[in-house]
Each structure stands twice: as C-alpha cells, then as structure tokens.
C-alpha cells in the first residue's frame, strides 16, 4: 500500500491569475471568510458532493431509527434476493444488508472523522512548533517523521490491532498516529516562510508568547491548507480503514465497517452481486464526495488554481 505524497500537486499554478473582484460589489467590504465561503458555494461539483456527503451522514446516523430491521437482527432468512422487504437482500447469517450498511457507514465515518481531527490537531501543533522554533525541535520532529516513514503503516496497524483489540477507536488511534505526518510537513513548510514575515516579527516585538503567535497569528494564516488537508485526510482514512478491515486486520466483528461488510460478502460477487455492489457504491461515493469537497475547498481558498485540477 503505497503511501504516496501528493501534496506537491498543490503547487500547480495556472500562469494567469484571475481576479474574482469584478463579481463583487466593490462598495461592500467582505471578510476573507465570506469570500471563501462564496467561492465554495458557487463550486458546483463541491456542492453536489456536499449534498451526497450529507445524505450519507443522514443515512448512517438517522437511517437506523427509520428502517425496520436492526443490524444485529439475524431473524431473516439467509441470502434473500433483493425485494421490497430487503432492498439489498440479506447476508449469509440473515442480517438485512441495508441495516448493516447503515451501521457500517456510521462506523467508517466515525473512524475517518476521528482520524482526521486527531491527525490535524497533532500535525498542526507539531508542524507549527517545528517550523517556528526551528533548531532542536525541528530536527527531532523531522527525524521522528523519517523513522515513522520507514515502518510500513499497515504492518504496525495490523500488529497493534491484533495485540490490543479490534475496537473501532483503536483502529482510529492507530491510523491517526500515521496520518499526522503529512499535515505536519505541510504546516511546517508554510510556517517556515510565514515566520519570516513582518507581522510575526511585530507580534514577537510586542512580547507575544510562542503559543499565542502560533495559534493567533500563524494558524489563522494557514487555515486554507489545513482545512483542505484535513478533508483529504478524511478521504484517505476512509479508504485505509476499509482496506485494513478487508484484510481482517482492522475493525473486528462484532464491530463493523464498510471494509468488514465487503470482506464478508465479496465471495458472493458472481452469484449475488448486490451484496458486493451495495457497500462498494457507498464506499466509493463517500470517498469521491470527500475528495471533491476538498477540491472545492482548495479552489475556494486559492482561486488562482481554479482551472487546474491535477
């Protein structure tokens, strides 16, 4: 499982910067946030994806209250075909596939959101500290990243899950402990250049403490790339978790996730294809939607790159 660093793709710049200013009423001042939000709301693909994402969240967390079957209910017959009572059929042990999918989506979402939140928090703090303080802290951090990079993530995740437990939060913690590096590198790089600017010098001259400079001055100036990368971290966490669980090394039953559902049912691909395509479509639309939202956010934060999607 190649952990490819594609962060540098963000550097692709269409040479002609376009100005959005003519679209706005020049007499009214808008904050940076309003500008970004406006651009994001007008990004059609991102809005559609946001819709899909919200539908999936509702499906996962509200669905179980509406749907008649429970995901633990094994009272139905084994391997029922698609019907009105079971729109996606039933599994081998007689669980309703739709109910199972709701539960799996909920778990996959929970894991992905926790991974992204933790990874972003750790990555931003470490990255900003290393970039701002330089010297020893920077060297130590970069060596740590070097060290973690040579140990295959999937191996460590598998060993930890095997050794401790396959609960979903253990999987989330392990994935987060690898996902922060990417964000730390990006934050560090931006901090290195931001820290040379006059306003940081001014803040330091005023006697601002290091935490204050980092959280009040540096982080707000990097909010764009932090948000974008947090979104992309969600997408990659969804896929990594599913892959681990598919190998039987991630979330363990009785907990479930989209990867576990695919693992349990992919043997039926030829005879009962709906058992495979159901979780597959949910998984792909989840990861596509989050990726497109990230794309839209990137365009919104940095309109110069709008035309190039690489």
């Amino acid at each position: 499982m190649a952990n490819i660093n594609l962060a540098s793709e963000g550097g692709v710049v269409n040479s002609a910067p376009q100005s959005d200013s003519h679209e706005f009423d020049a007499t009214k001042t808008r904050t940076q946030g309003q500008l970004v939000l406006g651009r994001f709301l007008r990004h059609r693909l991102a809005m559609v994806s946001l819709g899909v994402f919200i539908v999936l969240v509702l499906f996962a967390f509200l669905g179980p209250f509406i749907w008649t079957y429970d995901f633990e209910d094994v009272s139905s017959k084994s391997y029922q075909p698609m019907s009105g009572a079971h729109p996606l059929g039933t599994t081998q042990v007689g669980k309703d596939m739709l109910a199972l999918l709701m539960r799996g989506t909920a778990y996959s979402l929970q894991i992905a959101l926790i991974v992204a939140a933790l990874a972003t928090a750790i990555g931003v703090i470490f990255g900003a500290l290393a970039g701002y303080l330089r010297g020893f802290v920077d060297t130590a951090l970069m060596r740590l990243v070097d060290l973690l990079l040579i140990i295959p993530q999937i191996a460590v995740a598998a060993i930890v899950v095997k050794g401790f437990s396959g609960s979903w939060y253990v999987v989330a913690l392990v994935l987060a402990s690898f996902a922060w590096m990417q964000i730390a590198r990006i934050t560090r790089g931006e901090t290195l250049s931001l820290a040379q600017r006059e306003f940081i010098e001014a803040a330091r001259a005023c006697g601002a403490s290091t935490p204050r400079i980092i959280f009040k001055h540096l982080v707000p100036n990097m909010i764009g790339s932090i948000t974008v990368n947090a979104t992309l971290a969600i997408a990659s966490a969804v896929l990594t978790e599913a892959a681990l669980s598919f190998l039987g090394l991630g979330v363990q039953p009785p907990d479930t996730s989209l990867g576990v559902i695919v693992l349990e049912n992919y043997g039926q691909f030829l005879n009962r294809p709906w058992l495979f395509w159901g979780p597959f479509i949910v998984l792909v639309s989840l990861s596509l939607a989050v990726n497109f939202i990230g794309d839209g956010l990137r365009d919104a934060f940095d309109p110069r790159q709008t035309k190039v999607r690489a």
């Binding site: 594609l6 040579i150 295959p152 999937i154 599913a242 892959a243 695919v262």
Partner: protein, 332 residues
Amino acid sequence: MIRYIIRRLLISIPILLIGSFACYVLVATAGNPLAEMRFRPNVTEADIKAAEISLGLDKPVVVRYWNWLTDFMSGDWGQSIALGQAKTAVFPAVTDALWTTGRLVIGAELLALTLGVSVGVLAAVRQYSIFDYLATSTAFLMFSMPIFCVAVIVKNYGIQFNNVLESMGLERWLTTAGPRPGGFSGSFGDVIFKYTGTFLLPTIALMLISFAAYSRFERASMLEILHSDFVRTARAKGISQSRVIFRHAFRNALIPVATLFSLNFGAVLSGAIITETVFGWAGMGTLLVSSVRQFDPPMLMGWLAVTATLIVLFNLVADIVYGILDPRIRLG
C-alpha cells in the same frame, strides 16, 4: 556523488537501528506468542515455562533485542514459532516472498509508469480536450477507489471471462492462485499461455491503481513546465512543437515522476498486500498478513527489517535519480 551515497548510507544505519528497536518493542508488547499454548490439551505450566526459556522470553526486552540483532547480523534470522509452520526458517521464507512479489510488481509498475506518463503528457499537451477530461476524471476516480474493490472486480470479471472461454470449448486461461512453485513447463506456447494467464489479472489490478497516481503527477508537472519561461523562449525561437515538447518540456517533467516512482516502488516491493491477498500470491503482503494472524514474532521481525531496509534504500535511489536528472540539485 559517491561521498554523498556513502554518507546517506551511514546516516541510515542509526535510523534503521532505532526503527528496528521500536518494531521489536511493539511486537514484544503486542502479544504473547505462547498464549495459544494454554488452550492446547496436555500442556502444563512447566511446559510453558520451558518454552518461554527456550525462546528467551524470560529475559528483558532490551536483552532480547540485542540477541535478535546480533543473530540477524550474522545471518541467523531465526525460525517461525507459529503453530503448524514446522519451524520454517525466516530467511528463506522472506526472500521467497520478496522474489514472488518482485516478479509481479516490477512488470506492473513499469507498465503503469509508461502508460501513466504517456497519458499524463498527452493530457497536458491537449489541455481541456476531451482526452484530457477523460484521463483526468479516470485518474480522479481511480484515486478515490478502494483498492481491494478494484482487485475483487478485476478478479471476478476474469473468472467470468474464463467461463466464457470454457463455454466456447477453450481452455481456462486466467488463473487466480499465484504462480506455481515449480515454474512453468511444457512447450513454448504452453509456457506463454500459463505465464500470461497467471500474471495478467494481478498486473491489471496493480496497474490500474498505480497508473492513476503517475498520470495525475505527470500531467501536473508537464503543465507547470509548459507554462514556464524557458518553454516560451524555445517556442519564440521557432523550434518545432514536437521538439519543444520532447526535448524541452518532457525531460524536465519526468523529474518529479521519477522520484515518485522510486519511492512508490520501494513501498510496493514490501507487498502489494491487497492484490496479493485477493489473487492468492504468496508474496510479502500475504506473508505479513499470515504472520500477524498467527502472531509469529520472528517472522514479523524478519519482514519488518527487510521492508524498512528496502524503503530506506529506495528513498536513497529517489534522491540519486533526482540528482542525476536535475543537475541544478547539488547532492552533498
């Protein structure tokens, strides 16, 4: 250059040492390899104690690590302690697995690179054409695709293809169980038939996945170069379009992709875990999965050591390739 390589190799020794120690501690704390012994009939506490002592589990972790390290350096990688493995030696098991993975991965990665680079260059040169939109959206889709689903789909359509062949009265061509240990035998045509049948499906699955990354990367870097000043200068001098693209732009656009390829290759060598699992290849990936399932510390340590070394090595290769392709970068 030589001095740079030597220095980098020397730097990677402490990194590997610390990394292997971290792995050892992780593996040692993650579980007790003798846990399953308790559930077997006719096993007394004394037997477990004896096994513990014979495996050295009664000593502190640091001592065990030191013993493992010195053994490892002298070529004794230990033997598997998992049930039913009949004390398989670790070294041949890992090298066999590496050889199996290597055969699969080298071809697939090279094909993916060639295809990805060609598509990426074409998409960049004809930016905003139908071809570009098709290539970009395919790459984006593949990138958001769960790898294991791609492998499962490829495998099952392969099986269906076989069924079609059979119904037409032909021999089943594609196999989904990995290469046979004895190699391929028979007439020349037979060997080709079996060889392609074994390699085709996993190669397609691996290619689809890597192709997305390479084509996205190549397109991005090619676009950046095509918009740079020296390309405009070349055009202004009246150099033909193909010369501009191949002589000026293409060669420069290859640099980041070459780096990505070297890094990716090291990572994939440590196991195309999912492709191997789905297609039943006994490579590095399946070795990891089975050693984790059976909890086999000596095998895990052998695997981790080889993988970490490979990654360090290919990181170095990536830097060297970068230095060769781009003389502006001074190594040292």
